[in-house]
Subunit: 217 residues, 2 copies
């Protein structure tokens, strides 16, 4: 760089670690894998990929999401870059964490070719527990959980966790899960009114009366 | 990692680039250096450092801030990690951008030992101009500018741009500069009332009547 002999500074391994969040059974969940190998063999971990020298960070995130879920065109954003020196005991790895949001209906529990187990883990239960997780991934999940709570009120991220068509109770439930509190139905509907529009359809096949389906405007 | 032969993936250079923002003469400014060497010789650039293999990202940011300003204990936060492949034409460099906020009274225009020029550049003028800047640093500055505007209403970041003691007009001016709009004095004072407290002092030596000095509560 500016006068530094850049050879003084060793190059580092850079990975993209993925938090793929979804809402299932009215719970916020994150996709994780169980590690086969040391370190942390048998522990759950976030999926991740190393960044190629000719690959952008976003491209690595998209590649990682595709490998773990088989999906493309999922909403994602960069979350934070974690750089503690010993976060991986084997070597120095900088982790650029990305967050992806998927409606559960799109998720297929694909076991990536690299691991034997991929699973949806309940986020609140995990963060409240003493269960140990590989690397600093528990911290990364906590960070992502907080970012979701911060963003839900002033962005439209909640819409990425419902399908293209949804009922108002479904959408409200997602908001409540992300915010961690209940909302008054009337206030909620007023709040989202500008963001949604009715479709011509209603839900069917349920014990209660049909519910109008909406979509993002 | 999980079954990947990590040697497939080359290690990458990782830098921390620094946006040191301040408010001077009622304008938002950012500390930049003029490059002596290619590439982009003669262009202005953000100061930066490579991250050492045994150094955390935060430690690299603190080191970089100290090198450019001589200052320690400045408020800083990680902004975003930029990973376009060709952002630096010489080699692949991932840039973890950090933002620091300093009251102008603390800044000494220290020319770092690595460069001949360090200067405060007017942010709005730069972003509105066609002036070319080294690497992707104009994009990084734009991103930082936007983060400031987003955060000023729901955090206390504005306080990092005034001294320990400040007048209400000073503080209001900083809010207005970050938000990009004027505020009603009465509304503003109500908004910040919980965050500040009076000191026993007033400003002196000015043509108008003395102004009460406040501090962060």
């Amino acid at each position: 760089m500016k006068g530094y002999d850049s050879s003084q500074f060793e190059k580092l391994s850079v990975a993209v670690d993925l938090l793929t969040f979804t809402v299932e059974d009215n719970r916020l969940k994150v996709l994780m894998i169980k590690r086969d190998e040391t370190p942390f063999a048998g522990k759950i971990a976030l999926p991740g990929v190393f960044v190629g020298v000719n690959e952008t960070l976003d491209a690595a995130a998209v590649r990682g999401i595709k490998e773990e879920t088989g999906l493309k065109n999922i909403y994602y954003e960069q979350l934070y870059t974690f750089g503690d020196v010993k976060r991986d005991p084997r070597m120095r790895i900088i982790s650029v964490a990305y967050m992806a949001l998927v409606p559960v209906g799109q998720l297929d529990y694909v076991a990536g070719e690299r691991t034997s187990d991929a699973m949806l883990v309940d986020v609140e239960d995990l963060l409240a527990s003493r269960r140990s997780v590989a690397f600093d991934h528990k911290k990364i999940i906590e960070y992502g959980r907080q970012r979701l709570a911060n963003k839900v009120e002033y962005t439209d991220i909640a819409f990425h966790l419902v399908g293209e068509e949804f009922t108002l109770p479904e959408l409200q439930k997602v908001y409540e899960i992300l915010l961690g509190r209940e909302l008054y139905k009337a206030n909620f509907r007023k709040k989202v009114a500008d963001m949604i529009e009715e479709t011509d359809y209603v839900t069917t096949g349920q014990a209660h009366r049909p519910s109008r389906l909406y979509r993002r405007k």
